[in-house]
């Protein structure tokens, strides 16, 4: 099976600073990847580079046979990338429903289907973006990316700053999207134990380069690698996602 996403020797950063260098990455259709690493190792920059909001320094990015390298970010979104940024970036002056309607594109994911996935959003459909809790904003950010009907979903620290009960709810939804619906996804997380149970594969970044790549299962079973690269002790078991 040919790759859905291919990064070859990609280097990128902001201004004069190069944050990630020589990244090679291959993702098959339906495959999910956890990107792990400590703070400031280039995880967010990697996602930002795929969506096209960093300064490109070298290498190529291909999505489903299409060269994205020189493409604007809106074209990349149309090419099939759905992005859930770290700051969520809900459009605050739009209601929940307007946030979805403003960007929705034809495909299997429509507004009603994401309401089924996140019933809280349906309850809040007339609330403005700035009237939502952090968890609801994150759900809306995921829902907004889904109604673009992407081929690949990029999630940047989706559980950051959320209450444990909301994290469980969100992970359950992500499990459904990735495992049951077969959506290809790259999920950036600082906390390995939260996401390794959801994704197929994992890689660890350090100082802008890939220092470890394996299946998620193998990484769970390799406490030495977790300890060495992330400072995670083996005591904590990966959080099990609750399915709907």
């Amino acid at each position: 099976m040919s790759d859905l996403l291919t990064l070859q020797k990609v280097s990128a950063g902001y201004g004069d600073a190069v944050v990630i260098s020589n990244i090679d990455l291959h993702l098959k259709p339906g495959e999910s990847l956890a990107v792990l690493g400590r703070n400031g190792t280039g995880k967010t920059t990697l996602l930002n580079t795929i969506i096209g909001v960093t300064r490109h320094r070298g290498g190529s990015i291909m999505l489903d046979g299409q060269n994205l390298t020189a493409m604007r970010s809106d074209k990349r979104a149309h090419a099939g990338i759905g992005w859930v940024p770290q700051e969520r970036n809900i459009f605050k002056s739009l209601t929940v429903e307007e946030n979805l309607t403003a960007v929705s594109r034809p495909g299997p994911w429509n507004v009603n289907r994401v309401y089924d996935m996140f019933p809280r959003l349906k309850e809040r459909r007339t609330n403005m973006g700035n009237q939502l809790s952090g968890g609801e904003q994150q759900m809306l950010a995921v829902a907004r990316a889904l109604v673009l009907n992407p081929k690949l979903l990029l999630l940047d620290e989706p559980t950051e700053g959320l209450a444990p009960i909301i994290i469980e709810e969100l992970l359950a939804a992500l499990t459904r999207i990735i495992r049951r619906e077969g959506m290809s996804a790259i999920v950036v997380e600082q906390h390995a134990q939260k996401i390794l149970g959801v994704t197929d594969n994992a890689l660890i970044l350090d100082r802008g380069t890939i220092v470890h790549a394996s299946s998620s299962r193998a990484l769970i079973d390799d406490p030495a690698a977790l300890e060495q690269h992330l400072g995670v002790t083996a005591k904590k078991k990966p959080m099990r996602a609750v399915s709907h």
């Binding site: 990349r76 759905g82 307007e98 960007v103 009603n112 609330n127």
Partner: protein
């Protein structure tokens, strides 16, 4: 599946496109003034034209976040286009209106690329510069525009071959009000559509809007062009109903006044320009009658108060009162739809 999205969008449009009681009342009162305030038609005509001009600024400032201090460029171009056509024998008002809209839209399209980049300050300077350049061209091309003496000899034909302009301003007011109402309906339709929502997304965060697939530049160019056409039509209405055009239509104070009108009425809900125009002209009328020398001082003071106190805070009391009245007539508060603070 695309049918599902189309159905959903259609349903959203229908729901959001419904007219509220306040809106219907607003336009009914406006129409009623055609019969009940015949002695005020001249000033009402001016109010409607300023309102349309402010509405055009609201499209770019309130919905797309583009600041402009040179919106008079489009207003002035529309006024001169309609005026020159009428002077040179094309006296049909609607033809003049169409030509003014096209000329202003073309200028808007060309200059839109100048406001796509840079900060708000850059945009302010660029738009101001465009208006200044156009003002100087109009001044120098006196063979065409009449220069500092103004464009004279404008003679308008009857509207649709039926309604002659009269000295009391009744036809002029009816004409301006009808055109403004039709353009308002179009603008209202646009701002509640997915296109309008995407504009507001761009205003909230252009970088992130682009990353979720919104073609930011194309949307901004389109709305800037549309707003320019609206401003051009407002200018044409002024030229046709007053049958005179001077360099004043391109002056800096025109752009500043329309910004003032929008600040008074509020941005981002279309009615801001219309309400602001009413408040601005009534204040101007009342205060200048009371103190002809210092009316601008009082207008300035009122503006400072509005900006410092916050228009929303000032209008909140009115909204609460209105809700109280509406609540008594409603069956139960739970049945009332939630509306945005920006909605009327």
């Amino acid at each position: 599946m695309s049918t599902n999205i189309a159905d959903h969008v259609r349903a959203t449009l229908v729901r959001r496109g419904r007219w509220g009681i306040g809106e219907i009342l607003f336009w009914l009162i406006a129409a009623a003034t055609l019969y009940f305030l015949p002695e005020r038609h001249l000033i009402l005509n001016e109010i409607v034209i300023i309102g349309l001009f402010a509405l055009s600024l609201d499209l770019i400032l309130g919905y797309a976040g583009i600041v402009s201090l040179g919106h008079a460029a489009f207003f002035g171009l529309g006024a001169y286009t309609a005026g020159i056509l009428a002077r040179d024998g094309i006296a049909d008002p609607l033809l003049g209106l169409g030509a003014a809209a096209i000329a202003a839209a073309l200028l808007g399209f060309v200059t839109s690329f100048l406001v796509l980049r840079g900060s708000d300050l850059t945009k302010l300077m660029v738009t101001l510069g465009v208006a200044l350049v156009l003002g100087e061209i109009a001044n120098q091309a006196s063979w065409l525009t009449g220069g500092a003496d103004g464009l004279q000899g404008i003679a308008m034909g009857p509207i649709l071959g039926l309604f002659e302009f009269d000295i009391f301003g009744t036809t002029a007011y009816g004409y301006s009000l009808t055109v403004t109402f039709l353009l308002f309906i179009l603008a209202r339709r646009i701002v509640v559509s997915p296109y309008g929502l995407s504009l507001r997304s761009i205003r909230d965060n252009p970088l992130k809007a682009r990353a979720v697939g919104i073609p930011v530049n194309r949307r901004l160019v389109a709305v800037y062009t549309l707003a320019a056409a609206y401003a051009g039509i407002a200018g044409a209405l002024l030229a046709q109903t007053t049958q005179f055009v001077s360099l004043d239509v391109l002056a800096f104070h025109r752009s500043a006044d329309v910004m003032l009108v929008l600040v008074i009425g509020g941005v981002g809900y279309l009615y801001g320009g219309l309400i602001g125009a009413i408040v601005f002209k009534v204040l101007q009328d009342v205060i200048s009658a009371w103190t002809p020398q210092y009316w601008q001082f009082w207008i300035g003071l009122i503006l400072v108060i509005i900006v410092l106190a916050g228009r929303e805070r000032l209008t909140e009391r009115v909204r609460v009162l209105w809700k109280g009245v509406a609540g008594r007539t409603a069956k139960s508060p739970e049945t009332l739809p939630k509306t945005s603070a920006r909605e009327v």
